[in-house]
Amino acid sequence: MLILGLDTDSSVCSAAVYDTARGEFAARYEINNGLTHSVTSAPLIEDMLRLSGIKLSDIDLFAVSMGPGSFTGIRIGVSTIKGLAYGLKKPCAAVTSCLAAAYSVQVKRGIICAALDAKIGRLYCAIFKADGDKLIRLNDEACLTVDEIEDMLKDYIDEEFTFTGDGAMILAERLGAAYTLPKWAAAQSACGVCLAAQYTEPVTPEKIMPCYVQLPQAQRELEARKGE
């Protein structure tokens, strides 16, 4: 099976094709040039497929990162994948940006903490437990401060941790991890989207929706300040 994955949740726009039979990526493309993904994502997919000799009609599953992340980016990614799958009458899989980041590290044991920079002094974060090749979700994505994440991780203090996502450095520094992936490698990417999609129930294109994650804490702080 060939899975085409797309990730436009951050300033990076990436696409990949994963061949499940070979257990390898047939193609991986990534650009980080500050342009809006509405301009780059479709040509990027087109170029990648052309150069790797894969036809769009060869793709069996269209996968996308549905967020949380850049508001505009999520909408571009989700609508691009919806459109491709709808036109080709193929199934879709939508995975969260945190799940994609967690699958991208391919760790077989312990706790994986996926943290993505939400740009407002907060991180989008979710934690997973590795169970062989598969990941078990321990909580839903939330928009948290580093302190809140540190608190949340205390419940798993005896486990081995892996940090992933473009916010991993911030966490690893605070929590004293010996090693974390470099930022360029830790950025959530289309590869993680493909890997996560293997374990996600395929759906028809109209079923996939963006996952924004609200900012409840920030909102409460504002309400409190207004009330003072």
Partner: protein
Amino acid sequence: MMTFISSSPEETVDIGRQIASFLRPGKCLLFRGEMGAGKTQLTKGIAGYFGADGAQSPTFAIVNEYEGRTPVFHFDLFRISSLQELYSMGFFDYLERGGVIVIEWSENIPELTAVLEDYCIVEIEKTGDSERNITLLD
């Protein structure tokens, strides 16, 4: 802190040009000033410095984009009342587009100063019919 004194809308535009010469991409200017203070005139000068004409009030559009050598993104937050709404109109995506960001009515989102990394408050004070004091606060 730096104060400019303007005695006409034309001078306000010119002060906008002078302010723009200090700006680097990613900088957010938070304008404070009542209706008619000259916020749009100041933005005309800023966008003009970077080679884009035609700045006008984004009250209805919420954001106007001026494509010059450095793009200028001109926001009016008059109708925005929460960080969540700000996120939902793509505001935080603009921070990464390598432009200068001008924000009118930023007072509507008090926590904006806590979440922005690189900002400067610009106060425009009416001191007469057409006289204005324009102050850059750090």
